[in-house]
Amino acid sequence: MPSSQRSHVITSRGLDEIIAHGRDGEVSVAQFLARAVALAGKLPDHRYAINLAADRYDFFLGFCAAVIAGQCTLMPSNRQQQTVQQVADDFADCYLLGDVSMDGIERFDVDSDSLATITPSVDIPEIPLHQLCAIVFTSGSTGRPTPNRKYWKTLVEGALSNAALLMQNQKARLNLLATVPPQHMWGFETSILLPLYSKIAVSHVTPFFPQDIAESLASLSEPRALVSSPAHVSALLGANVAKVKIHRIFSATAPMSAELAGQLEQYFDARVVEIFGCTEAGTMARRNTASESLWQLADAFSLEVGEGRTLVRASHLPEDVELQDRVELAGHKQFRWLGRSQDMVNIAGKRGSLADLNHRLMALPDVIDGVIFLPDEDSKRLAALVVAPGMQASDILEQLKPSIEPAFLPRPIYIVAMLPRQETGKLTREIIVELFEKIRRARAQQDDESPSNQTH
């Protein structure tokens, strides 16, 4: 069925194709659509659905039902009560979809089991391109969610772009397992939107521990695909799990080293494809990390690298997006990643501003001077040097907790007498890191010599 210029079909897959591996086995496109349409008719009459379904199939069904019903799905950056409450406060005409209850918010259970007996559908719903379908939230350094609106046009054309970028020459259906949540933009694009427009059947589980990931993969038939992050896949390698062939490993959320990519390719007989993107623009480039250092930009995107900033353009994005990364163009539709913008840090898949974090540190009454920084590009955590007479590092940590998202809490915090500022008051990165390393080495030495630490 051709889509008009004002709408686009919810899926371009054939009705008999398999789109998901649910709790009770394979689900065809015809079955899936019939259930989504039936569910759409039952959803509470509100504008926004906060989809917290833990089961990926339930999330998938709930999302498609909301789209069909003309509702917008809200995707908080985590399932913590405080985060969800903030989203519900900002979008009052909402209800909760999924297995989490919260005081004062209407809840609706997807209950996909009761939909399993519905007669498969032959109608494929058309969705208006201008329909607001999802709002993805990024947490930022304070934990206060920032909304990012996704219209159907952006989602569909983004998914088609990803199909071209990630599924090149892929003829057989991929059976896909994701370790990242569907509420995160990366998981949403690859495990929910991509299966609507390319040959993918997505598994309903989201395993976390290495052993569980390996077993979930083994339970899928070949060819398999894994959507994950460097932290998850390096844990998978480190745990020495049973070998299983993985046709494609798609990784995003943090940079992956060529070394890790190479080890993964060898161990799992896989091809590792790393993805470059952000919540605002979605997936925009790829590289085969084990053998390539340059990124290949998707056809739908273009980059404008200017004085101190880089803009991303695509006809399906409502506006240009400013990248929080420094890049250098290198040949046709290719670029080299130089690093994050000086101010931006990415910790545990969350993006934060160092300027904002430092502002919050300096705002503490007991802090005279201080700096939060990333010790080096590969650091998983931030660190801090703080001038706060009479205070312990643990006091500062406690004081920071209410105003900073946990992932960004510095560890360690070292209390120092003063910061090595230059005469102008400037604090260079090199000097900060040098002082930090000096203290760290001194402490390590102290620990080694301390008799109380000889127990292991």
């Binding site: 976390f208 521990f209 052993q211 844990a235 590092a393 360690p412």
Partner: protein, 88 residues
């Protein structure tokens, strides 16, 4: 405040060590306080590192039903009990 058992203290030290929580004293970790969210403020990256450390030290593979990761890690006490139960 409830005291840590000897084994809980050992696990508390493993937590502090494997997650570089230099600013936290292992003895100060409350046995029944949540390790994630409001307690120590740990996140999923910590959960992976801690799981790896537990596997290396006790040869116990952590397992969880979907989204029940938090139950295993809900407190020092539950994590210690899980390790003790699964150590042969």
């Amino acid at each position: 405040m409830q005291p840590q058992s000897e084994f809980e203290h050992e696990v508390a030290e493993l937590i502090v060590e494997s997650l570089n929580l230099e600013d936290i004293n292992a003895t100060d970790i409350q046995p029944e306080e949540p390790l994630f969210d409001d307690g120590l403020g740990l996140d999923s990256i910590d959960a992976l590192e801690l799981a790896l450390a537990v596997t290396q030290k006790y040869a116990v593979q952590l397992r969880a039903e979907d989204a029940n990761v938090k139950e295993v890690f809900s407190s020092l006490r539950s994590l210690s009990a899980y390790i003790a139960e699964n150590t042969s």
